[in-house]
Amino acid sequence: MYAGVDAGASATKVVIVDEGENIISHAIVPSGINFKASSEEALKKALERLNLTKRDILYIVSTGYGRKLIDASAVFSEITCISRGVHKLFPSVKTIIDVGGQDSKAIRIGENGRVLDFVMNDKCAAGTGRFLEVMATILGKPIEELGALHFKSLNPVKISSTCTVFAESEVISYMSKGCKIEDVIAGLHNAIAERIFSMSSRIGFEREVAFTGGVAKNPGFVEALSKRIGLNPILPKEPQIICAFGAALLAKKRFTEKV
């Protein structure tokens, strides 16, 4: 068995695969400030589901923001891991758009999942999960409900600011004027989609296009981004663990090469 640990800024994800490269277990825990501790916790959870211990893992690859701070046999960048993971599940994908808690990326991949080009936004909150978290708090709605509310909107508002801080004031202004909450939410999804579209256009949108990362679990956002790009994306069932999956695949590859 091989494990991939994605120590993201918001959440730590672990995926365990078997010799056949199938996902046999996974776990997601909040990262907090101690990556080592949260990665241990996530790994333990994933192993418990299989009734196994760490000794059953032949090789661990770590990736993500905190990748160098945890115990692993090797380290790889998220770009490489996401590409491997997506390619394994969907070999026809040529473009990946990954939107996580604190960054977003667009990756163009070639044959066998090789990375050809990529762009990242990890400096600015607008265009990441953080943006929606902040707005959800202001609107007083749990982030899981944003998706459903999006589809109720008939008249999305226009959020003109590209900056999270300024967009906050716009949202407050709309709400105080009595706008419907679903319209504001749809407007926010459109705004974040616009940011991501802008960043990704430098990579292009060669089909098939896949959406991954935690924010891809939000159907409202997926709808907004799909519309903006003008195509239907491939959506993994568990978009948040694709990166850890790719890391696990790399773990198997590395181990097999060494033997």
């Binding site: 960048s77 770009i79 090789r114 990529f118 990890d122 400096k123």
Partner: protein
């Protein structure tokens, strides 16, 4: 204390060339100078050596040296952003500005060149803010053709007059020829070290090579020339099978960036940096009209993104990538550096045609963005290793 003319070569240590004119009394280590060039300024001041700060590699150091002044290229690192410039002016220019203001006491004067918009406007601001004499060298963007060379020659004559005033004496033709000789020697030595990269197996690593170039901009020429000779003798080439990269960019003074890139698992086989190969690639012709020869060399040299035709620069990058067998090209761009960012599109187009992967890394404040930069470099190297 009297120093006699001694030239010592050993295989065991770096050495200093001492002559009767030298007032330097301590050994200078290249890596120390590169880590902290300000210390060099203090040494000059203590020894009574007059220093002229300059901003751009289009300023002929030869002229400064011929006026018995020490040229010193003003770096950008060590300074925070300036309150005197807007946020979208490149951090490079802001930091150079702050350094000039902070270190004015160590200089006898400044020569700023018309490199690009922010560096142009730097002259405007410096003029109002410093007391020491400042000269603005109008380097033509269009470097081609006799008209430009003739104009630039007149500008260099104007610069010569300016330096004459600081020196307090006339600059002789002899002094100029001697300065050209020592600078030519410096450039030839740097090139010799550089050329060791081209066999694909043995090399002098990027960090060491860049240190020699930077030290050449901060130390007395005779001294650095002696040290480079010693290092060539030492022959510190090593075998490497790391991924070979070419770095495309402007001026990088903070070698922590270079170190970080090589630590991510690659070897910088070649570059087209202003503080790299472009500094020394061409020499000045020895001619009866040395000012004209300077004008010609400085305009016709391998162009930077701010001067000369785009095609010429692309051809140079193409040549370097092929000669030094780079597997990929990293473009390091300051986030608001217009010339590099316009060029980047065409560099990418050209390299894509040759099937060479490229990656653009932009940054504003290197110290604060090491994580970001490292992630990208690592991912890029991984994609090249397959």
């Amino acid at each position: 204390m009297k120093w006699s003319k001694i030239l010592q070569r050993t295989f065991l240590s770096d050495l200093l060339y001492l002559d009767s004119k030298s007032k330097m009394t301590t050994l200078t280590s290249i890596s120390e100078v590169c880590k902290n060039p300000i210390e060099m300024l203090k040494k000059y001041k203590d020894s009574g050596i007059r220093v002229v700060g300059y901003s751009c590699s289009y300023v002929p150091e030869e002229l400064i040296i011929s006026a018995e002044l020490q040229p010193f290229r003003i770096p950008n690192f060590g300074s925070a952003a300036s309150t005197l410039t807007p946020t979208f002016i490149c951090q490079f220019a802001s930091a150079v500005l702050e350094n000039i203001l902070k270190l004015e006491e160590f200089f006898s004067g400044f020569v700023l060149a018309h490199t690009c918009d922010p560096m142009w406007r730097l002259y405007d601001i410096i003029k109002k803010k410093v007391r020491k004499p400042v000269f603005f060298l109008r380097v033509p963007h269009n470097t081609e053709g006799e008209l430009s060379t003739e104009f630039f020659k007149k500008e260099l004559l104007r610069l010569k007059d300016f330096l004459t005033e600081i020196l307090g004496a006339k600059v002789t033709d002899e002094a100029l020829l001697s300065a050209i000789e020592v600078c030519n020697e410096n450039r030839s030595l740097l090139k010799e070290v550089y050329m060791r990269n081209d066999d694909g197996k043995y090399c002098v690593n990027g960090l060491d090579r860049f240190q020699l170039v930077l030290a050449s901009m901060w130390m007395p020429k005779k001294e650095i020339n002696a040290q480079i000779k010693a290092s060539i003798f030492k022959n510190n080439s090593v075998k490497t099978d790391k991924v070979r990269l070419h770095i495309n960019g402007t001026a990088i003074y903070d070698l922590k960036l270079i170190e970080m890139i090589e630590d991510a698992g690659c070897f910088i086989a070649s570059d087209d940096l202003c503080t790299g190969s472009r500094y020394f690639w061409e020499n000045v012709a020895i001619s009866r009209d040395p000012i004209y020869a300077l004008a010609d060399r400085y305009l016709q040299r391998t162009p930077c993104p701010s001067h000369g035709p785009l095609q010429k620069r692309l051809a140079y990058i193409d040549f370097m990538v092929e000669k030094f067998k780079a597997r990929g090209v990293l473009t390091i761009a300051e986030r608001f550096c217009d010339p590099i960012l316009y060029d980047a599109v065409h560099v990418k187009d050209m390299l894509t045609k040759r099937n060479i992967p490229t990656m653009l890394i932009d940054y504003e404040n290197f110290e604060q963005e090491t994580g970001r930069i490292k992630t990208r470099v690592e991912a890029f190297i991984e994609s090249l290793s397959g």
